[in-house]
């Protein structure tokens, strides 16, 4: 079984990635990077990461989230995060990245926040 499973769905012009597994150095981080790169190549620039199924993330995974955020912003898009576990919220707090990411615990609120 893959370290990180990613399912893609559309909600209007917003792409939602439902993620399940671990985002750690190696396979998990690479899977996220490849998914974001492919969406940008397809011109999909409004991206909501549903991280409710991600129970574990390491510093490499956090770095990949930052890298995704920067890449999407550079293309004039938006990246938002949905359904963070308590552990991930804590990690984003420790790294002060909660001030950077737009975080939601309700999908309709998250979808409605995209411009």
């Amino acid at each position: 079984m893959a370290e990180l499973n990613i399912r893609e769905r559309q909600a209007g012009d917003i792409t939602v990635l439902d993620m399940d597994g671990k985002i750690t150095i190696g396979e998990g981080s690479v899977a996220l990077r490849v998914a974001i790169r492919r969406l940008l190549e397809e011109g999909k620039k409004k991206i909501l990461l549903n991280l409710g199924g991600v129970g574990y993330i390491d510093s490499s995974g956090i770095g990949e989230l930052v890298s995704s955020y920067t890449a999407i912003n550079k293309e004039g898009g938006q990246l938002k995060l949905l359904n963070l576990t308590q552990k991930l919220q804590d990690l984003l707090g420790i790294t002060k990245l909660l001030t950077v990411f737009d975080v939601y615990d309700n999908e309709s609120d998250a979808l409605g926040s995209f411009k």
Partner: protein
């Protein structure tokens, strides 16, 4: 003393009534990080630490072995990473040694400084310090960097 072959290295250990030690010798590969984390999880389970402490130890071991593989040994698979877990009544102690050129933790910029927040790396040491009670680095007399991390047992 028990010893078993391990892909690219070995693991061995011994146990007494008051202290248990497990040693691993791992290749300098990304896969070895998961192997070290699995060994840490088994060790922590045997040591009886709670779930929160186990999560913290897992995170710290992953980050320390990642540093050893990527920055210490620079993924040179002819170099190994040695990991030792020690369990005692008061704490568990983990030491990780690489075969690199040496490391000054003071040279790593603070990842929470506003100018570094958007960097894509440099948070591993912050996580090690966050999740363990003690973290210290030293130079091994035969070469390489040793990081020693301690998680104290919390009396209930």
């Amino acid at each position: 003393m028990y010893q078993q072959p391990y892909p690219g290295g070995f693991w061995k250990g011994h146990a007494s009534l008051t202290e248990e030690t497990t040693e691993l010798k791992l290749p300098s590969s990304i896969e070895a990080i998961n192997d070290a984390a699995s060994a840490a999880a088994d060790f922590v389970k045997r040591s009886g630490l709670g779930d929160d402490a186990a999560y913290g130890v897992d995170m710290a071991v992953r980050e320390a072995v990642t540093n050893a593989v990527l920055h210490g040994n620079r993924q040179d698979e002819t170099k190994t990473v040695e990991v030792e877990f020690k369990d005692s009544p008061s704490a568990i102690e983990i030491t990780i040694r690489d075969m690199g050129e040496g490391f000054d933790p003071g040279s790593v910029p603070d990842p929470t400084d506003p100018q570094n927040i958007m960097k894509t790396s440099g948070r591993g040491i912050l996580f090690m310090r966050t999740f363990m009670d003690e973290v210290e680095w030293s130079r091994h007399p035969e070469g390489g960097t040793v990081v020693r991390m301690v998680k104290k047992r919390v009396k209930e």
